[in-house]
């Protein structure tokens, strides 16, 4: 296999701009919010809808609640340097320091997964790609690396989905959980807004809008429910392990779980976990062999 590296060194300049850009964006957001509020008040004050419009605007423009931590940034830079030099264990330690400080971000998990992959720890790489995917689900580098890591899992079991299931899954994977929550709430607000506007102005298109937003809201609520349910108990096999019929070492082996295989945790009995493979087969494995996403 021929291996190539993408050189992204040109991005290192932007690293130092990150905190300043964050502050600047917050200022711009506030300015735009105020400007739009004035405009909306001008248009809606007669009908008393300014408050509602402001509420929507605040949802559209959420302000940063967590400032970038300088310590975390230092760790991140050091870990990246270690990665570049091929010191993957050192890089892993650096990324873990950020997580241990109680912070997380998509790139931190992504880089950590890359470091684990380079360090031949396929299970840990996949679990961190999954974590990164929950924060930045549309990142193309992440998707490519995740697929590449999965292709290295020998004997991986995957449930074959029909067209509807594939569409539904890709819809759910397109958004992060937080994005789905925001969109769901926004859709509800839009449906409520259209309903009220329809009452006040009695227009057909507003009634159609109400139904449309309500339908989308229902779809997103169902999707959100499934997404949360799937993500809640998901785990990745860290080391290849046999799944047994009972939670003891002497029990008959039911099937083998390769490193990097995704499973769902169903229960716990002492040091054993009851897991379900994507094809529905259920077995018991030692808890240490599974890491929750």
């Amino acid at each position: 296999m021929k291996r190539t590296h993408h050189n992204h060194c040109e991005r290192s300049q932007s690293l130092w701009d990150e905190p300043r850009r964050g502050v600047a964006i917050s200022g711009i957001k506030i300015f735009i919010a105020r400007l739009l509020c004035q405009l909306l008040r001008f248009f809606f004050v007669q009908k008393g809808l300014a408050s509602l419009a402001m509420g929507i605007l605040f949802f559209l423009l959420p302000l940063n609640t967590h400032a970038a931590d300088n310590g975390a940034l230092t760790d991140f830079i050091n870990a990246n340097s270690a990665y570049r030099e091929g010191k993957y264990l050192q890089a892993i330690q650096g990324y873990h320091n950020i997580l241990a400080a109680g912070f997380e971000s998509g790139p931190v998990y992504y880089n950590l997964a890359n470091a684990h992959f380079k360090n031949k720890e396929l299970g840990k790489a996949i679990v961190n790609y999954e974590r990164a995917n929950r924060i930045m689900p549309r990142d193309r580098d992440l998707i490519a690396n995740y697929k590449f890591a999965l292709s290295d899992v020998v004997g991986r079991t995957e449930y074959s989905k029909n067209l509807f299931e594939r569409t539904w899954t890709s819809h759910n994977r397109f958004y992060s959980t937080n994005e789905m929550i925001l969109i769901t709430v926004l859709l509800l607000i839009m449906a409520a807004f259209c309903h009220l506007a329809g009452l006040y102005w009695q227009r057909q298109y507003l009634r159609i809008g109400t139904i449309l937003f309500a339908l989308l809201f229902v779809i997103f609520v169902i999707g959100l429910q499934i997404k949360i349910d799937l993500e809640r108990d998901a785990g990745i096999v860290m080391t290849a392990v046999p799944a047994r019929f009972e939670p003891t070492d002497k029990a008959t082996v039911y099937f083998e779980l390769p490193q990097g295989q995704a499973v769902k945790e169903l229960g716990k009995e002492g040091d054993w976990l009851k897991v379900e493979r994507p094809d529905g087969k259920i077995g018991w494995v030692p808890a240490v062999s599974i890491e929750r996403i």
Binding site: G55, A72, N178
Partner: protein, 641 residues
């Protein structure tokens, strides 16, 4: 039909009650009668067709056997099917030395073929081989209705029993336990074979005097072998000792994949057997004897189904490696006996025109293991990827090749080599060379070959291969992105909850506002009643202003109008119609109404006096009147809804 119905109707035969029956009922009866007549006609047609004498060409006679190869000790069923004849003559099978024939039974079935009802009679014979060898049951001639019908001769091959574990059958045929009434035996045709050689394998289910249902296909351990699917199970009989067993055979082919002493089996087969339930529950004594009758038992079905799993003994096989001596360089991997054919068409073409090479390999070996000989790219020919299809027991290759120049005179020979396990030698079948006439291109004509860079036919063909891309993970991210608390979910944040609650409250407020306005717009009585005190307050303020200016006339005008409008709004009446009596009617249920009405009458009288008589009124009097008016409105607000 319509005329027939009309005539029936006219005669009063169709409907007994004639005109008393409604039109709808009449129509439904007509429809019913039509359907009945149609059904009657169809039945007559079927009967006519059924009894119509069959013509001679409708009669056919055919003899079939359920197997053409049988092991010594097994039996074969020969069925003579006579279709289309009512009277089936007595048929005697010809005597064959080495075969014993017995008539078993007659099976008759009637079926519809096109518009004819045909009868088919099947005469079933059991053939028991007495020795090994090849036997021919000659053609049978059967006279039916003065005409002779002849069947085709049938050849039967009887072979010795192959490789079975001898202990499997030794103890059978003597005991009467369940294990001896039903068991399975695993066997192969040989004990020793070469790697890749097809080995016929049979799993036989022996049943004696048992009702067996739901027989499943057997499974068996076959480490070191690839196995084909089982063929349809074959039924027959086999005698072991003194007992004749019903036998069900499951046949397949094995292909050894490694050498050495390999073990096959054990084979397992699941089935249900019906066992008579001897345990009886009920009232003991005379009454119970009534139900102890076998016939009654059979009638009500006092049987229970028992699922059993039969298991055979293991079978050892010695698998030999293919000899290296004499192994051709182009050995295809095929082990068995194969036929190889090859054709090339057309034989006369122009430069750049396609030639189609067809190869066909058939035989009794494992076709999946056979690598087809392929014509490779050369200076003479541009070669495309072959299309290889395996179907109906043969492997077919089709390959398109294109001559590059007109100097070509033939397509070279093609070899196909395989190992013959019977003769234990490698064989090579050679086809070709195939003579070709390749014509040059006309002047100005260009050959169009995919993959050629130059129209010059002497140029080397350029084969376009897909670009090979490297595979690895993408590089790390340089920017840390927006940090958030670990496990942060948006609904845990205060602003999200706050904004959600605010949005909900705004929606509730606006919705209530809308509902309030809607109600307000629709109920004018309510609107007037709600507006009355505010308007009255404005009117009194205005009157107070006139009082301050000592404008007596306007003071009393305003005061009168204010009181009139107030009570008009309260009583939902026109202002002009308001008098003290009407107001008294409005307050009739109140205890202090007399005093209240007296005050109102005083004010109204004073107002009219000033407005129409122009008398002088002191400022004190005006103040008293204004206070009185305020008290009246206040009293009204406190004591009316």
């Amino acid at each position: 039909m319509r005329n027939f119905l009309i005539s029936l109707r006219t005669q009063g035969l169709l409907m007994g009650r004639g005109a008393q029956v409604s039109w709808v009922t009449r129509q439904s009866r007509i429809r019913l009668l039509r359907r009945s007549l149609c059904f009657f006609l169809i039945m007559i047609a079927v009967l006519i067709l059924g009894i119509f004498p069959l013509r001679a060409e409708d009669i056919s006679v055919e003899a079939t056997v359920n197997a053409t190869t049988v092991e010594l000790g097994e039996s074969i069923q020969l069925t003579l099917n006579i279709t289309g004849a009512d009277d089936v003559p007595a048929v005697q099978l010809p005597k064959v030395d080495g075969l014993e024939t017995r008539f078993a039974e007659t099976k008759t079935k009637i079926f519809l073929s096109g518009n004819k009802m045909l009868r088919s009679s099947g005469l079933v014979f059991t053939i028991i081989p007495l020795k090994t060898g090849q036997f021919e049951i000659s053609a049978l001639t059967i006279p039916i209705k003065g005409k002779d019908y002849t069947t085709k001769p049938i050849t039967i091959t009887v072979v010795n029993s192959g490789n079975t574990n001898s202990t499997q059958l030794e103890s059978r045929g003597t005991s009467s336990s369940l294990q001896d009434k039903i068991f399975i035996v695993l066997g192969t045709s040989k004990k020793e074979s070469y790697i890749g050689e097809p080995i016929p394998m049979v799993i036989k289910l022996f049943i004696n005097d048992l009702n067996v249902q739901s027989v499943q296909y057997p499974t068996f351990s076959h480490d070191g072998f690839t196995v084909e699917d089982f063929t349809e199970p074959r039924r027959g009989q086999q005698t072991l000792g003194d007992i004749t067993y019903q036998v069900m055979e499951f046949r397949t082919l094995l292909y050894p994949t490694r050498t050495g002493d390999l073990s096959l089996g054990p084979a397992k087969l699941g089935a249900n057997i019906l066992i008579k339930n001897s345990r009886r529950q009920g009232i003991p004594g005379e009454f119970n004897n009534i139900f102890s009758d076998d016939l009654f038992d059979n009638f009500i079905g006092r049987y229970e189904t028992k699922t059993i799993m039969l298991e055979s003994a293991n079978l050892g096989l010695k698998i030999l490696p293919l000899p290296q001596e004499g192994k051709p360089a182009d050995f295809s991997g095929g082990v068995g006996k194969y036929n190889f054919d090859m054709t090339v068409s057309p034989s006369e073409i122009k430069v750049g025109d396609p030639l189609t090479v067809r190869m066909r390999i058939a035989g009794d070996g494992n076709l999946k293991a056979v690598n087809m000989p392929i014509i490779k790219d050369s200076k003479d020919f541009k070669v495309y990827d072959p299309k290889i299809v395996e179907q109906n027991g043969e492997k077919v290759l089709e390959q398109v090749i294109i001559p590059n120049h007109d100097k070509i005179t033939q397509l070279p020979t093609t070899n196909f080599s395989f190992f013959d396990p019977v003769e234990k030698i490698y064989r090579t079948v050679t086809k070709g060379p195939f003579p070709l006439t390749v014509l040059p291109l006309a002047k100005g004509e260009e050959a169009k070959i995919v993959g050629m860079t130059s129209p010059s036919m002497s140029a080397e063909p350029v084969v376009t291969t897909p670009e090979e891309l490297g595979r690895d993970i993408h590089f790390i991210k340089e920017a840390m992105g927006r940090l958030q608390k670990r496990g942060f979910v948006i609904y845990q944040s205060g602003w999200f909850v706050g904004m959600s609650v605010l949005a909900f409250l705004v929606w509730i407020g606006l919705f209530l506002n809308y509902e309030f306005r809607k109600k307000f717009t629709a109920d004018t009585r309510l609107v007037r009643r709600w507006q009355a005190p505010r308007q009255a307050k404005n009117g009194l303020n205005q009157a107070a202003a006139f009082l301050a200016q000592n404008d007596v006339r306007n003071f009393y005008d305003t005061l009168y109008k204010t009181l009139q409008d107030y009570f008009a709004n309260k009583c939902h009446l026109p202002s002009a119609s308001i008098t003290a009596d009407i107001v008294a009617e409005h307050f009739k249920n109140h205890s202090r109404k007399e005093e209240f009405i007296d005050h109102l009458k005083v004010i109204f009288a004073e107002c009219e006096l000033v407005r129409f008589a122009s008398i002088d009124i002191s400022e004190e009097k005006m103040k008293t009147t204004l206070r009185l008016a305020e008290e009246i409105i206040d009293f009204s607000e406190r004591n009316t809804k």
